[in-house]
Assembly symmetry: C2
Homo-oligomer: 402 residues x 2
Amino acid sequence: MSNLSRLYSDRAGKMRKSEIRELLKVAQDPEIISFAGGLPSPQSFPLTELEEISAEVLKENGPTALQYGTTEGVLQLREDIARQSKKEGMKDVSAENIIITSGSQQALDVVGKMFLNPGDLAIVELPSYLGGLNAFRAYECNLAGVPLVDDGMDVDALDEKLKCLKKDGLEPKFIYVVPTYQNPAGVVMPEKKRKKLIDVANEYDLLVVEDDPYGKLNYDGHHVKPIKAFDDEDRVIYMSTFSKILAPGFRLAWTVASEELTRKMMICKQAVDLCTNTFSQYIASEFMRRGSLDLHIMKITEMYKPKRDLMMAELKQHMPNGYKCNEPGGGMFAWVTLPEGIDTEIMFLDALKEKVAYVHGKAFCVDGTGGRSMRLNFSYADPSLISDGVERLGRVIKRNLK
Amino acid sequence: MSNLSRLYSDRAGKMRKSEIRELLKVAQDPEIISFAGGLPSPQSFPLTELEEISAEVLKENGPTALQYGTTEGVLQLREDIARQSKKEGMKDVSAENIIITSGSQQALDVVGKMFLNPGDLAIVELPSYLGGLNAFRAYECNLAGVPLVDDGMDVDALDEKLKCLKKDGLEPKFIYVVPTYQNPAGVVMPEKKRKKLIDVANEYDLLVVEDDPYGKLNYDGHHVKPIKAFDDEDRVIYMSTFSKILAPGFRLAWTVASEELTRKMMICKQAVDLCTNTFSQYIASEFMRRGSLDLHIMKITEMYKPKRDLMMAELKQHMPNGYKCNEPGGGMFAWVTLPEGIDTEIMFLDALKEKVAYVHGKAFCVDGTGGRSMRLNFSYADPSLISDGVERLGRVIKRNLK
């Protein structure tokens, strides 16, 4: 047999099987309680209404909903999202500023395609969303981390870093932030700091990529406007998704950006998939038009809030002295940092033996830190499993602390 | 306002708005009869059955069909496709050889990502599928054309070209072919020639990318086995799609390749969109399991065959002396070459004035030829519009021949 791997591109040659993915495959054993994925609760899906809406879409718009669509997405859905974005504080948003993508992952990939040459630099949070890191790494770039503090990215440290880079003649292509209920750390950047981040971006004439999948999963009533709301110089590409508030299986997300950036992203997306699933776009649009999305978000926050509370309570009971975990005000994740002496990557195999899974902290940190941390998802598992799972985890940690 | 375009990657800097796309936007005027797109007839979609199946999927598999899926795709659909592929003559195909992609365009993009460095060479047909060319060009490669003859790619010319390249120390990354009812030319490569192509690929130890969206749209009963059926050395990546035989709006296609190539493609796809739309995958699988896909293909070939015949008859009546058009045995396109003195790109604006649209031939040819040709789609327009449209086209051509 021929060895065609000699033909691989440089970028593909460097891409390795994700260890995390392999570990998570092992975690699919039904006896394992998994806090690893970022999955919505399967009980959250509005099955009956989606059945009704699917039928309605096929009856009323079948020939269009099953046909090729435009690369930028179905106009009525882009209009729905533009209206919604304005309500959330973004200025002058119209359908012309919006692209419907095949999940946020595609939006992240398009950002990578559009900006990153091999060897280019982008700035990410420490820790940062794994899927974002993977999307950018596929373009053979370098990623520099700026630490998170309890209220999001440390903007003073960012400023300092940019100053140093400038001195060395280096310019990062963009700053990637998940400012609301951050994945994995769960923290929120307050409004004042968002404005400061924009000031820094203006000063250095930088692009900001604002990834906001969790903003609407708010359990304590504190809504913060997106960074994009303060973006008077059109330097923010905002992205959000239906995956966490409706259904990941639809693979629907969107970007909000200036018309110029939107046009360029469209050209990049065109070569990648022609258009996003049209049928799902019509379903999501009808779901919004009925007012069902807002009601559904209320329903799922009511479902996830007690799960969050339960996980926090169980952690208090089962984690060792000296553990740290901010109470996440929203989103899907708890970020637990354990006392010295633990390596969560090494401990993972032991956790699997105890039939419980998480994602170890190093996976989220581009500088090799995070070894004492782990990300725990609380949206997916049933309450009784959250209790059992944290208890199991407590046992594993105790064993590993000795 | 800041000019962020200075931050664009080299690849994005080179990507231009597709002129074709701009022209086609103009062609969306409802008074224009468009032969330009590659769209199925909107009357072909099995709306009632899809309504039934959508409801069934949500009732029986809702929580899974709306959740994230694996990158490679829903297992039962991959098994369905593996069975189908074996029936079509491909050997030893199992679910492990199959990835479900977001349309064939994504499969083409993944091939580009996996094999093409900037400056690399790939071999394509003259003329070749525009979407394939765009996918590969996004990776800043060079494309060399090998002419099509009446029975597909000229394999002797290919052999000659490879010999010359080898002499210069150059090795193409792959050969991209659409062997059955080629887009745009409509021709079919016979079995004997497919074997010869494989022999050449074996001799030069090359990768072959076989794109087969139209193989099942067969109007004259001559089924030819895919090139992949003769691929004893695992050097063919085969791809096909549900877009032309069920619904483009589902964005569902698939690849068949060796396990090794499949694993690498999966890693490349992972960074791009995590997974393909799960809901659509369940719908397509149920459509296959009911035996409805085969019946539906019979229905649409019965719908398209008279359209093909009608277009051929109208061309005979309205095209000028000396025009050339092979009768396509299947697929969706007629490829018309006009007498000397016509430039179909220049003529396009005149055609729009006459309210008829096509895609000009140069768009499909990487060497700048094709200026006298145009691609006409016969699957989309209603029969009465096919007649009117070809008549209008005849008038435009007569005017331009003077």
